[in-house]
Amino acid sequence: MIRKINLLLEPLKYLKIQQNFEARLISTTVNLFNESTAERPATSVANIKSKNTLNKAMKSYLERAQQHDEFMKTEKHQFEIGKRHLANMMGENPETFTQDDIDNAIEYLFPSGLYDKRARPLMKPPEEVFPQRKAAEFDETGRPYHFLFYTGRPNLYQVLHDTVEKINELNNFEDTMIRKNLQPDPNLALELSGSQWLDKNTLEQKLVEPVSDGEYSNFLKAMDRLCSLPYSHKAKDFIMEYRKPLMSNSEAFDVIKPQIGPDGRQFVTTYECRRKRAIGNVTIRFPGTGKISINGQDINYFKGIQQREQLLFPLIFTNMQRKVDIEAEVQDGGESGQAGAIRYGIAWGLRSFIDQEYIENMRLAGLLTPDFRIRERKKPGQKGARKKFTWKKR
């Protein structure tokens, strides 16, 4: 539906039209100047008519399109040159220099400590950097293609229109089912718990249209209405187009393959387990007898009971207390931070030796989520991170 101007063919087509049109325009003006005093021939009138057929909106659009196209062309050209320079600087072959290489080179040449990744320097092809634009929404006579063109946001209102159509369809379907004395199958019911609606920015990108807050909430309301219907599973494809999964695919847990140690036992090492300021490496050996060594000591390394409990938590949870040996090296941080780091390392490494079902249970128990919470810094002009100094007006 949404044609993109960045396609190679279309701008060229429009360019051709425009070139023809300009040539005609020039010829007509020349004709007019030449023959203004003389009788007007029929051909020039015809030319003027054909000029008038090209709508003003179309004209300005074509101009804009050409401008954009030229701009993109120069940007692309400059990007190519920049890429080659970069490849030369890094001492690599410019012909085989990929986008990954560019990213690495930029990170190497312009190291940035800025927190937000979007604020860091980047070099991407211009197609990714510049937002996509809509193609012409009207023909040469200025007549819009889309019946909702005058709403100002045809794509958004098309979605809302489709939603209402689906709702009506489903209502009719429900009526027929009621007449037949049939109930909706609970097994088929639409499962939405694992996904959420597209957020506003993503929706805007998808529709190539700006969406206001009110319009976005209207969109959500309409979609929720559709989902609440008893036979909403029939519109699943349509609904799922506007939802995204809560857990991204990168979060899917790839289990580490155990290695074989010199003593013939399997082992898995988890590196860089973190919690608060503590950091450590945890090795799990299978089969074992439940030996625990932390920095060369046994579980008495931790003085507190809570820390020992934390250490054993994943082992108890998966019933592996006496089946594996654990070796951990941990540094920095305090007691509970170190215990938390080791707990995460054990849970992460244990996945290699247990069933898929247990892994899912561990995930649900929050053992496989790294705890990134850290102490909030103290602010100047305040007593602590949030607490203010006592202050009296008088």
Partner: protein, 232 residues
Amino acid sequence: MCATKVLFSRCFAVSKLNTPILSYIQQNSMSVYPNYYIEPIYRKETQQELVKTGEISKYSHIPTKATLNGQTCSDSYDPVIALFTNYVMRQGLKALAREQMDKCFENIKRLQLEKYHKCTTEEEKLKIELDPKKVFHEAINNSKPLLQLTGVKRGGVRYQVPMPITDRRSEFIAMNWLVDAGKEKDRKVRFAMQLARELVDASNNTGKVVKRKQDLHRQCEANKAFAHYRWS
């Protein structure tokens, strides 16, 4: 080199102009977790219940927050006791608070055993609860208030209006009263001992805390006439 720099700066300038490339991350105020993360279900029994009811499939695609430091799935763990330990804790000294709680349970056991052995008949012996954890839960249940007095200003006068309270709030009040009662003691008596006595008393529906609860209820009864200020 200079030329490339110029080129780069151009590319950077370009990147500043446009809409964000990276996908938009849902922020949950100051939390590190996005708002759709659920609290971890870290107890084995709770998970098994969910499996029985079939509700577990609901959670299969929702990410969970990390389990907190004080939470485990071990048999000795009791969420109510963990909560009470946190109320006993002062200035973040959790280890000390835990130690006090352990001593307190030991004291409860001793007190109950002492009573048990003093009993002469079998019937009296059966009445005495020897499990300190059961004593603790009973004590908290008995000291939970049903109503609460809240100040409401009407016509320049402050009225004490009885209000219904949530279960969580009443639990908090009961625990706080128990901790206060444990601190109200002679200098030579230890907190763990005093708290144990209060818990045993409260489990028998006697003692300072239960009296405090009854006082509050009496006050609420007396101020019944102001109850309409709650909504008018």
